[in-house]
Amino acid sequence: MRGKSKSFLTRRTLVGAMAWSALVPGRGSASPVAQRVAALDWAIAETLFALGEPPIALVAASDWDRFVVEPRLPAGTVDIGIQQEVNFELLATLRPDLILTSPFSQDQEPALARIGPVRRFIVFEPTETPLERPRALTRELGALLKAERQAEALIAHTDAQLAACRARLARLRPPPVLLVGFLDARHVRAYGGVGLYQNVLDTLGLQNAWTKPSNAWGFATTGIEGLATERDVRLVAFQPVPPDALPTLAQSPLWRELPFVKAGHMSILPPVLMFGALPAALRFARLITSELERVAG
C-alpha cells in the first residue's frame, strides 16, 4: 500500500517529509542542552515525542500503550500518576527543567510551580480551520523548546501525509463514515462537530454520516437507535468495544436490519487519542485510510 501511495505525493510534501525524517534521528542536535520536560497532558506528550524532545515524565504513563498506542513509550519514561493527583514528590526528585500542563490539569499548577517553571498550553479549542489548534500547539512547543525547525518539519510532514491519504481516498469514493465509540451495549458516542476526528475527516475529504448536533467537545452521547439510517454508510468504531455490546445488539432487529450492519459495512479501529494533537490526527488518518482501502479491496 505504501508503494502505491508514493506516486501521489507532490514534490512539496515529499520535501517536507524528507526534512522531517532527516531531523528526527538527530534528536537533541538542534538544542544543544537536552531539556528535562515533564508533561501533564497526553496531547502535549505526543507532540513532544514527534518533535524529538521526549518528556522524561508523564501522567498516567501506564495507560499510554493502551489508549495512545503509538509511539510506544520509551522504557525510561517515569509515570507520575493520575492527572488530577500528580506524584509531586517523585516529580521533584526528577528535577524537571519545564513542566507542561493543559487546562485539564490546571488545579495542580500552584504546587507544580514549587518544582520548576510551569507552562500551560491549550490543547483543545474549536477552530474554523481543521487542525488549527494542534498546529498552533506544535509551533508553541517548538518555540518553547527551541525546536522551531522540527515543529515546522512536523507540520509539513503531517500535511504531506494527510495529503497523501486524501489522494489515496479520492480514488475510492468511500461512503460517509459514522465514527463511534461504544460505551455499553445501549449507548455510543458519535464523533463530529469540533473534535479532532472531524478535523481529520474534513482534511481527508471524507463525509461524516453523523449529521445531528455534537457538544462543545466534538461528540454526542446517544442511544444506539440514534444511529439508524437508510443511507449507505460505513460504521467505524474505536476499540475497546465492550464484550457484551455486539452480542446484545445481534438480538435487536433495529440493529440487525440496518443497511450497514446487513452489508457488513463495519470496521473496528485500534484506539486513537481523542483529545490528541498532530500525531493522533495522523494516526487516525492512516488507520482509516488503510481500513477503507482494505475494504474497497
Partner: protein, 660 residues
C-alpha cells in the same frame, strides 16, 4: 380526610397522572405512528423511522412503565416492612450497591458483564442492603437511623466510584453512565427479560403477603400469631432489593421513583398492603412514563444527552424534604453521659498523644523512592520539608476540624449518626462547585474554595430556615441534608455520565487532594482547628446539656433556639474550613467521635480533645496510605479516608450495638 376521598383512594391522582402521561406519550408517538400507518407494510428496504418506532420508542415507553412499577413496588415493600415512610431503593443504598458493582465490573472484569449484568448488580445490592441492615438491626430499624445508614453506604459507594473514575480516567463515562439510568432501548429483549424477572419476584412475594399484612398490627401482634418477624422482614427486603437490582442491571439507577410513588399512594389514601402495592405500581409506572416522555421531548431540543435517572433524582430529592415535614420526630439513642458516669482516668491521654506523634514521625520519614522502594529520605530532606510536612499538617488539621464538627453535631442533634456529610453542608459545597464549573467554566483553586464555602453556607442557611419551624428538630435537619446530597449527586452524575472533560476536574476536587497543599494553607488550617477547638470548649456547657433532651435543657435554663443556632453555626463553619483541603466526603466527622465513645469517654471536654486527636491521627494515616500504597500512583487522601472510614464506622456501630 373526607369520606369521599377515603372511598376513592388514589384514583383521582392516578387519573390526572394518566391524562398527563397520555398527552406526553401521544406527543412522542404521534409523528412516527402516522408515518407508520401511511407507508405500506412492505415498502422494501430499511425504514429508519419505522424501525426506531417499533424497536426503540415503543420498548422504551414499555420499559419506563415496567421499571417505574418495579421500583415502586420494591419501595412500597420496604416502606411497609420497615414501617419507614422514607425507605426506598434509593435511600437504603440498594441502588448505589448495584451501581458500584457494575462500575467495578466494567473496569476490572468486563467479562463478568458478558455473563450477566443482573448477577453483578444483585451481588452489589445484596452487600449494601446487608450492610445497612447490620448498621440498624440493633435499633429496631428506626426510620431515620435506617435512612442515615443507607446514606452512609451510598456515600461510600460514591467514593468508590469516584476513585475508579479518577484512576481509570479514560473509562470515566462507562463507570458513571449506569449511575444515572437511561431508558434507551433497541429491542424488546430487555423488556421481556425484565418482565419475566420481576414477575418471578412478585410470585415469590405472593405467599408472604398475608403474613406481611399482619405486620400492620405491630411486631407484638404478629408475634402473637406465631410469626418470625425478623425472618419475614429479611425475606421481604431481600425480594425488594433483588427487584431493584434487576431494574438497575437493565437501565441503571432511576433514583427516587421507589420513594415517591409509595409515598403518594399512601398520602392519597391507600391503606392496606395490597392497595399500597397496587397503587404504588400504577403511580410509579405513570411517574416514570411522564418523566421519560418529557425527557424524550425535551432532549430532542438539546444537543446533550440527558439521562432519565438523573432527572428523576433532581425532581425527587426535594420531595424528600416535603415528606420529612410530615414526619414525627423520633428519639434517637442518646450520646449523653449516663448519670454517674466517670470517664476512664486521664492516664491514657499521654499514650494517645505519643501514638499520634509517632504516626506523624513515621508519615514524615517513611516513603517510597523513585523506583518504588521503601526508604527513609536520608539526604533528601526537601521531600520531607516541601511535600510531606504541609500535607501531613493539613490532613491532621482537617481531620481534627471534621471530628470537632462531628462531636458538636452529634450532641446538638442527639443523634450519633450526625456528621457534616449527613447535614448536607458538604453536598452544598459540591453542588456550588459543580454549578460554577458548568456556568462559569474554570475558576482556579482559590475560586473553587470560595465557591465551596459559599455553597456550604447557603445550604446551611436553608437548613436553618427549614429548622426554625420545628425548633431545629434534629431529624428534620439531617434529612434535609440528605435531600441536598442527593441533588448534588444527581448533578455530578449528569456531568460525568455525559463524559464532559470538565467532570474530571470536579472529580479531582471532590476527592480531597492534599498532595499539593502549601505550607501557608496548612498552617492556616491548623489555626482554624485550634480556634474551633477553643470555641467548642467555650460552649461545652451546652454540649453537655443538650444531649439530655430539650426538657432537661430548658429546666437548666438554656435558651434552646439560641444554643442550637450557635452550635449549628460552629459545626458548619468548622466543617467548611476543612472542605477545601479534604473535599466533601470523608466520614471522619462520624468515625472519630465514635472511636472516642468506644474508648469510654463521655465528658465533653475530654471528648473534644480526644476526637480532635483521633480525627487528626486517622487523616495522617490515610494520607500516608494514599501516598504509598499504590506508588507511583498517588490516591486522593479524602477518598482513601472515606474508603477506610465507612467500614470502620460499621464495625464500631455494630460492636456498640451488641454491647448495649
Amino acid at each position: 380526610m373526607t369520606d369521599g376521598k377515603e372511598k376513592l383512594g388514589p384514583a383521582p391522582l392516578a387519573l390526572v397522572l394518566a391524562l398527563i402521561a397520555g398527552a406526553l406519550v401521544l406527543a412522542v408517538v404521534h409523528e412516527p405512528l402516522m408515518a407508520l400507518l401511511r407507508t405500506p407494510r412492505d415498502a422494501g428496504g430499511y425504514d429508519a423511522g419505522r424501525m426506531v418506532f417499533l424497536y426503540a420508542t415503543l420498548p422504551r415507553l414499555a420499559m419506563a412503565v415496567l421499571c417505574g412499577a418495579g421500583l415502586a413496588v420494591a419501595g412500597a415493600i420496604m416502606q411497609f416492612v420497615l414501617r419507614n415512610p422514607l425507605a426506598s431503593p434509593t435511600t437504603l443504598g440498594v441502588e448505589a450497591g448495584a451501581r458500584v458493582a457494575l462500575a467495578i465490573a466494567t473496569v476490572a472484569a468486563p467479562g463478568l458483564l458478558g455473563l450477566g449484568r443482573d448477577l453483578v448488580a444483585i451481588s452489589g445490592s445484596a452487600i449494601t442492603t446487608g450492610l445497612v441492615f447490620l448498621l440498624v438491626r440493633r435499633r429496631g430499624f428506626e426510620p431515620v437511623a435506617t435512612v442515615i445508614a443507607g446514606l452512609i453506604v451510598g456515600l461510600f459507594c460514591g467514593a468508590l466510584a469516584a476513585l475508579l473514575g479518577l484512576v481509570e480516567a479514560r473509562q470515566m463515562t462507562a463507570v458513571f453512565l449506569w449511575g444515572s439510568g437511561s431508558l434507551s432501548q433497541q429491542s424488546w429483549v430487555p423488556f421481556s427479560g425484565l418482565a419475566l424477572r420481576l414477575g418471578v419476584a412478585l410470585l415469590a412475594l405472593l405467599p408472604l403477603l398475608r403474613a406481611l399484612a399482619v405486620l400492620q398490627l405491630g411486631d407484638d401482634g404478629a408475634r402473637g400469631l406465631g410469626l418470625s418477624v425478623t425472618r419475614l422482614r429479611v425475606v421481604a427486603i431481600a425480594i425488594a432489593s433483588t427487584m431493584t437490582a434487576f431494574v438497575v442491571s437493565m437501565v441503571g439507577v432511576i433514583g427516587f421513583v421507589g420513594l415517591v410513588a409509595p409515598a403518594l399512594a399512601r398520602l392519597a389514601g391507600a391503606r392496606r398492603l395490597g392497595e399500597q402495592l397496587a397503587w404504588s405500581a400504577l403511580l410509579g409506572a405513570l411517574i416514570l412514563l411522564i418523566t421519560d416522555a418529557a425527557v424524550q421531548l425535551f432532549a430532542g431540543q438539546l444537543s446533550e444527552f440527558l439521562p432519565t435517572g438523573a432527572v428523576t433524582a433532581v425532581l425527587g430529592s426535594p420531595l424528600l424534604l416535603f415528606l420529612v415535614r410530615r414526619m414525627k420526630p423520633s428519639v434517637p439513642p442518646s450520646v449523653a453521659a449516663p448519670p454517674g458516669w466517670n470517664d476512664p482516668p486521664a492516664a491514657r491521654a499521654p499514650v494517645v498523644l505519643a501514638g499520634l506523634g509517632l504516626l506523624v514521625v513515621v508519615a514524615l520519614l517513611v516513603g517510597r523512592g523513585p523506583t518504588g522502594d521503601w526508604s527513609l529520605p536520608f539526604g533528601s530532606w526537601s521531600a520531607v520539608a516541601v511535600w510531606r510536612l504541609p500535607r501531613i499538617l493539613a490532613s491532621a488539621a482537617a481531620g481534627a476540624l471534621l471530628a470537632l464538627s462531628g462531636v458538636v453535631l452529634q450532641r446538638l442533634t442527639r443523634n450519633e449518626l450526625a456528621s457534616p456529610e449527613v447535614l448536607g453542608v458538604s453536598a452544598g459545597a459540591l453542588l456550588a462547585v459543580a454549578l460554577s464549573l458548568l456556568i462559569f467554566g474554570q475558576l482556579g483553586a482559590a475560586g473553587d474554595a470560595v465557591t465551596a464555602v459559599c455553597g456550604g453556607m447557603v445550604v446551611l442557611l436553608l437548613i436553618l430556615a427549614l429548622g426554625r419551624r420545628s425548633g431545629f428538630a434534629p431529624d428534620h435537619m439531617l434529612l434535609a441534608g440528605i435531600a441536598v446530597s442527593a441533588l448534588a449527586d444527581a448533578l455530578v452524575g449528569v456531568l460525568t455520565a455525559v463524559g464532559d472533560p470538565r467532570a474530571m476536574r470536579l472529580l479531582g476536587w471532590m476527592s480531597g487532594s492534599v498532595a499539593g497543599v502549601s505550607l501557608q494553607a496548612a498552617v492556616l488550617t491548623m489555626l482554624a482547628a485550634l480556634v474551633a477547638l477553643i470555641a467548642a470548649l467555650v460552649l461545652r456547657r451546652w454540649l453537655e446539656i443538650l444531649p439530655l433532651g430539650s426538657e432537661a435543657a430548658r429546666a437548666l435554663g438554656v435558651n434552646l433556639p439560641w444554643a442550637r443556632l450557635s452550635l449549628l453555626l460552629l459545626a458548619a463553619l468548622t466543617s467548611t474550613a476543612a472542605m477545601p483541603i479534604l473535599g466533601p466526603v470523608t466520614f471522619i466527622g462520624l468515625v472519630a467521635p465514635h472511636i472516642v465513645m468506644t474508648l469510654g469517654l463521655r465528658q465533653s471536654r475530654s471528648v473534644l480533645y480526644a476526637a480532635a486527636g483521633t480525627g487528626a491521627a486517622i487523616m495522617v494515616g490515610a494520607d500516608w496510605l494514599a501516598r504509598t500504597v499504590s506508588f507511583p500512583l498517588q490516591l486522593p487522601t479524602g477518598l482513601v479516608a472515606a474508603l477506610l472510614g465507612a467500614p470502620a464506622l460499621m464495625l464500631l456501630l455494630n460492636r456498640r450495638g451488641r454491647r448495649s
